[in-house]
Subunit: 243 residues, 2 copies
């Protein structure tokens, strides 16, 4: 629904870069040219370019122009990007997916859970264990905690489909920010029971705390990935000076 002008320019430029309308290492049209092209102000063009810069698609060079530095991603089985659901990721990665709900219980946070998840003691929670299949192979084991106060009406059926679709669609929630930590951990008995790790004794683990648009945490998830099918990508830009 948000058809902000800067966003349509952003999407248009993004597509032109991905489809190589602008070649790799080539300069994009100057800001002035883009102003005429899109019939908007300079600020609006610059906002779109700023987003592309943050995506690692372009690199602005003072006094020279804006260079296309986008390279198509090498695909692993499962590449992690921004905030997206498992279902969205599989679609982006063009994979067939399936989800088995191993456990679906309602619990109350105690001190141990508070320390690990960030949910205050006494908070009623859904605890869900899910096994994710890609192309028929079990690769990811998810442990989800959802706050019942915010995410009400969750069922095993929804959990086997897309929880995020339910949140944003049915509940009208807005997912805002997610803080993620990536570590490498020893396999557990549960991991070994469901996932064929061959001779690996570790897994890639993403733990994330997700907040709604009121800044309230409603989810804590630990997502344990098979090493062979895991890849996390990131573009960082250097902050000048200080720090």
């Amino acid at each position: 629904m948000p058809k902000a002008k800067y966003d349509t320019i952003y999407k248009d430029l993004k597509e032109k870069i991905e489809t190589e309308v602008y070649a790799y290492q080539e300069m994009l049209p100057s800001e002035h040219t883009l102003i005429l092209e899109y019939g908007c102000s300079r600020n609006t063009v610059r906002r779109a370019l700023a987003e592309l810069t943050a995506d690692g698609y372009v690199q602005p060079m003072h006094g020279k122009g804006v260079r296309n530095i986008y390279r198509p991603v090498e695909q692993a089985a499962f590449t992690v990007g921004g905030i997206e659901s498992f279902k969205e990721s599989t679609i982006r990665n063009k994979r067939e997916s399936e989800t088995h709900v191993l456990q679906f219980t309602e619990i109350t946070a105690d001190e141990k859970i508070e320390k690990r998840t960030g949910f205050h003691k006494g908070t009623p929670l859904y605890y869900i264990q899910r096994l994710r299949f890609l192309n028929g192979i079990p690769l990811i084991l998810d442990h989800n905690y959802f706050s019942k106060e915010i995410v009400h009406g969750l069922t095993p059926e929804i959990a086997s489909q897309s929880v995020y679709e339910y949140l944003e669609g049915k509940l009208g929630m807005t997912i805002a920010t997610s803080k993620r930590t990536l570590t490498v951990e020893h396999v557990t008995q549960i991991d070994e029971k469901y996932i064929d790790l061959k001779d690996y004794n570790c897994m890639a683990v993403i733990t994330s705390q997700t907040f709604d648009d009121n800044g309230i945490q409603f989810e804590y998830t630990q997502s344990r990935h098979h090493p062979d099918y895991f890849r996390f990508q990131d573009v960082a830009t250097r902050k000048k000076a200080g720090l």
Copy 2:
């Protein structure tokens, strides 16, 4: 040296958040208030707030205000953030560091290297192998490839200190963007030779391609981390609609 107004406001607010001048979950002063406080235009305040949002420090809420959602990071031995050198990271993480140069050779890229690193065949390179110690314990094994055409005059002495300091200080280079991929890989014989992994048979591996301000890649690095002392943190914000 860039003492842009928005940057000083950004740094000031950041510090106030970190030192809990504004409490967790509390609203920051409104944009209008900040305008008066800093004596600047609204756009300038908004730019500073946008950076804090990207850092996951605050969350703006339409019609309500801007909420502080910053939580201090739980420290692992080594936490990876934006683009920063090993030396910078250890300082941020408040650790004693040391670097041993295991190998320092000059090579020319062949097809195999081109495919792996992105450097064209025939490009003259420095290849450096370094072992990183934290508090006296060997934890990270780095394999660096630097383009000789861009990074000239590298020596083992510089490699044992900070290459980035040399690049930005002596050569006057500007590091712009870095594309990183994080995976989990089996240990190699070299890993085992230098690092005590106990019963782990995997390592956390960060491979990165770094570009200068001309959009030219000058570095390819594979950084292999001990699982127990590795942590990668990230804040993602959900893009509305589309995608």
